[in-house]
Symmetry: C2
Subunit: 247 residues, 2 copies
Amino acid sequence: MINFGNIFFILVRPQLGENIGASARVIKNFRFKNLRIIKPRDIWPNKKAISTSVGAKDLVHNSKIYQDVNSAVKDLHIVFGTTSRMRSINKTNLNLRDAIKIIIKNLKRNKKIGLLFGSEASGLSNEDLVNTNYLINIPTNISFSSINLSHAIAIIAYELFSSLDRKILNIKNFYPSSIASKKELNNFLDFLIKRLEMIGFLKPKEKKKIMIQNIKNTFQKSALSSQEIRTLLGIVSSLIKYKGNLH
Amino acid sequence: MINFGNIFFILVRPQLGENIGASARVIKNFRFKNLRIIKPRDIWPNKKAISTSVGAKDLVHNSKIYQDVNSAVKDLHIVFGTTSRMRSINKTNLNLRDAIKIIIKNLKRNKKIGLLFGSEASGLSNEDLVNTNYLINIPTNISFSSINLSHAIAIIAYELFSSLDRKILNIKNFYPSSIASKKELNNFLDFLIKRLEMIGFLKPKEKKKIMIQNIKNTFQKSALSSQEIRTLLGIVSSLIKYKGNLH
């Protein structure tokens, strides 16, 4: 239903090849495919972009170059500008999660979405924003809001990816499957407590009950595996069997 | 209530100064303060780290160097390992949002939280993970999950920041305050339609009603400002007044 190929990441006058390569890499990390570049400063493609893209060389080589925003967005339906500061321009500033709702709604209608990212030095100009329907606001530290180009892309790509892929949305926390049954744990605890009693640890007598309870709680709350319990059993046995002088 | 200074970003054997600098920058972008580094590969501090940190040189200079995970986490209470793949290790893998709930709960109790990030080449080893309470799983493209170190930090720092700062949590979408009243808009539409009627545009007669409705809808749905409406009025007036030949 959702086509990741309908999202277009568009870099506007990027300067550093490293940032373009890093951007390509993180775009691919989150399953997106399309990189468009408007007037890169250096010759294109360049070595630094290719080396920092690591396994996303395909995106660098398949990226399309444009001379202006108009031509880079002409086949798209909804275009977002991205910014880390509130712009006093007559556009709606959306927070990221609300922007993503609009993106998903339009992807479901098979519309093509453009995401504009400004240059390292100066961001997006008001002229760049003429074609945008909305601005996406990435909230940052108000006293240090200058965010790296590929970091802005990483954050938006991650949020989009985790909202788009229903499998990912529904990811359950994973708890170790090897967690031991309560029976295994309690066998160990009984073994331990019996030994502690034998060695005279559970004293004075009036505190015995609460000491046992505390010891049990200590182990009950951590989801121990069968292997870990066997190891603990081994430790307790070995400690008891040891007859030498530990000092 | 929440102290951003209780979050510690810990890089385990990072290799590239650029990545350490970029990490410092994005940590500061999201108002965090603490960077710890375990066995950086190159001499420390190094020029590349300082230059890529841009305005976060203070974090680079204040970062603390450790020789192993044990000593880097000894004053912390809850430690998370980060990974982009499910690890077959006996630890609970949490998705990012659930991990953040646990982090917030512990920050409210004034506990110190460590976040471990592995080296570029090999991530976190099972030995590195011994001290961790949980793993945080960053879901990625299963066929290209190798995410840049500073990108992993950017994503986690952003998510934490947007959950921690209640002002940010409550950020409202910003709509242009200069949006015109319906009265202003309707004055313009009446003016326009009257002119269209005068120039014989609204024909044939039986379609007039629906044509007017469509024209009104066209302008009603975009939240025009007073200034934009004045401009549109000017355009319509000028077009009508123009008596020359446009061809």
